[in-house]
């Protein structure tokens, strides 16, 4: 990660990112390219939506930006010291041996909030903000429903006010009423603190209402990107058109 002070308005700048995986199959090495020379920019304070075919590389891009997955070529800069991620799979992201209280308190301890009372208050407030109740505090992740776990992951990621949140299908397990609540919370935080969100989702309706710009990924390439209203009103790429038609947003 390089520090790019000359363009403080840019949150992410990625140039020609390529990622591939090598696996052994029947004793032979097989290479499988997942991201192909991807370039894009994301502005500070922007909500950038990322949609596309299942398996097109959305999660891989997210993990690459956070340094979890290695890239083969290209480069990127991120203008935030501790970007946070909400993983697509909440259960594997949570430590099964710890209580929810511990999981939510941990980021506060790390960032140096010394006062126990203050930490607990923050933990409780964050639970409420994602529509959960205090009774969950002493439970372990396995004792929660899928949507409750997903909200714990969101609460944990927001605990230390990150400047950039990379959220991989963060509301996929939530019913529309709770979804609306969580998205409203994110939008409010964005407006108050100007933080940026890379929002991965396959829900094109939600994306329309939530994002400023969207990128459509297909087979590891950006098929199309643009301002949300423009792209939805006048999609150029055939795959974007197909997606919008399948979602019932456009007529064929």
């Amino acid at each position: 990660m390089k520090d790019n002070t000359s363009s403080t308005e840019i949150m992410i700048k990625a140039e020609n990112i390529s990622v591939s995986f090598t696996e052994k199959r029947n004793g032979r090495k097989v290479t499988h390219t997942v991201l192909r020379e991807l370039s894009f920019e994301m502005k500070q304070g922007e909500i950038l939506g990322l949609a596309g075919e299942s398996g097109s590389g959305k999660s891989t891009l997210a993990k690459t930006l956070l340094g979890i997955t290695e890239l083969q070529c290209g480069e990127f800069t991120i203008n935030d010291k501790s970007p946070q991620m909400v993983f697509q799979d909440p259960f594997s992201a949570l430590n099964p041996a710890k209580t929810i209280r511990f999981i939510l308190e941990e980021p506060l301890k790390i960032s140096g909030v010394k006062d126990r009372e203050e930490r607990l208050k923050k933990v409780k407030d964050s639970l409420l903000s994602v529509g959960l109740e205090e009774i969950l505090l002493e439970r372990k992740p396995a004792e929660l429903s899928g949507g409750q776990r997903q909200r714990i992951c969101i609460a944990a990621a927001l605990m230390n006010d990150p400047g950039l949140l990379i959220a991989d299908e963060p509301v996929s397990a939530l019913d529309v009423t709770v979804q609306a609540q969580v998205l409203a919370l994110l939008k409010k935080l964005k407006e108050e603190r100007g933080f940026s969100i890379l929002f991965i989702s396959h829900d094109l309706r939600t994306m329309y209402n939530f994002c400023d710009r969207v990128m459509i990924l297909k087979e590891g390439r950006i098929a199309e990107q643009g301002k949300v209203e423009e792209l939805y009103r006048d999609p150029k790429d055939p795959y974007t058109k197909l997606l919008l038609e399948s979602a019932g947003i456009r007529q064929s």
Binding site: V176, T177, L242, I249
Partner: protein, 263 residues
């Protein structure tokens, strides 16, 4: 013909200071070949109800009361060995979180074949593999051979979800419990999967309990629907009636909160 009858299902946890009741007096029936939608608030007890029907609730730390009659047997009472006979054969589950249901150290192919190993010993290795590959292809995985040899962590979220669907369908169950089976899929793949489920329902008369928070999906797939809130059923009936003229406060909120796209 009834295939499933749930009567006064109540589930209580005892692992904390106060007993917590997560499911309360849930009753419903399913006919052979019926598709029944189950929607409701996050945390309302949908998955627990599903796990109870599949005989997959832990028998420690919680109490389950009531009756769940499937094929003449009470799933809450029959011994483990009898449950295992039914699971993955007559009845199978697409779990809400594929990563927790899949074994991280076992290749996908073996996992999809597992129900066949247990319930269809007459098949040869080659026949089993052919069946597994066929199912991986049916769930729209582009490169079934690669997926067959992969480990779960080498697949995307939506690919894992489709693997779950394949492994649930491979042994032609009579009852399929699908817990949020398409949450990780893009709309085009989702549409294909819904078509596939409906085709199986039509041709093989698989009954499907379809749990989802996506109302438009439930409208497409199921004739009848149950709405749960806070552990109880708050509304049930024909899907069209329930969503077009909801009676309960929660159902109204649910219908009103569907995001709209206005240009």
């Amino acid at each position: 013909m009834k295939i499933l009858s749930v009567k006064d299902l109540t589930i209580e946890f005892h692992d904390h200071k106060l007993p917590e009741r997560a499911v309360e007096k849930v009753s419903f029936d399913m006919d052979e070949g019926e598709v029944l939608g189950l929607v409701g608030e996050s945390g309302s007890g949908k998955s627990l109800t599903a796990m109870a029907i599949a005989g997959l609730l832990p028998r420690k730390r919680l109490n389950a009361f009531g009756e769940i009659i499937f094929e003449g047997k009470d799933m809450l009472k029959i011994p483990r060995s009898e449950l295992r006979e039914l699971q993955g054969d007559e009845l199978s589950v697409i779990f809400q979180e594929p990563m927790t249901a899949l074994n991280p150290t076992m290749r996908i192919g073996k996992q999809v074949e597992e129900p066949l190993f247990i319930h269809h010993k007459e098949l040869s290795d080659a026949e089993r593999k052919a069946k597994a590959l066929d199912w991986l292809e049916k769930v729209e995985l582009h490169d079934p051979e690669r997926v067959y040899h992969s480990y779960p962590h080498e697949l995307s979220g939506g690919m894992r979800q489709r693997v779950m669907i394949a492994s649930a369908m491979v042994s032609d169950p009579k009852l399929l419990i699908a817990d949020e089976p398409t949450t990780a899929l893009d709309v085009t793949v989702q549409a294909q999967i819904i078509k596939l489920l409906l085709r199986l329902n039509l041709k093989q008369k698989v009954a499907i309990l379809f749990i989802s928070h996506d109302l438009s999906l439930v409208k497409q797939i199921s004739e009848n629907v149950i709405v749960m809130q806070n552990g109880s059923i708050v509304e049930k009936g024909k899907t069209k009636d329930v969503f077009d003229s909801p009676v309960e406060e929660y159902t109204k909120k649910l219908v009103a909160a569907i995001p709209e796209v206005r240009f």
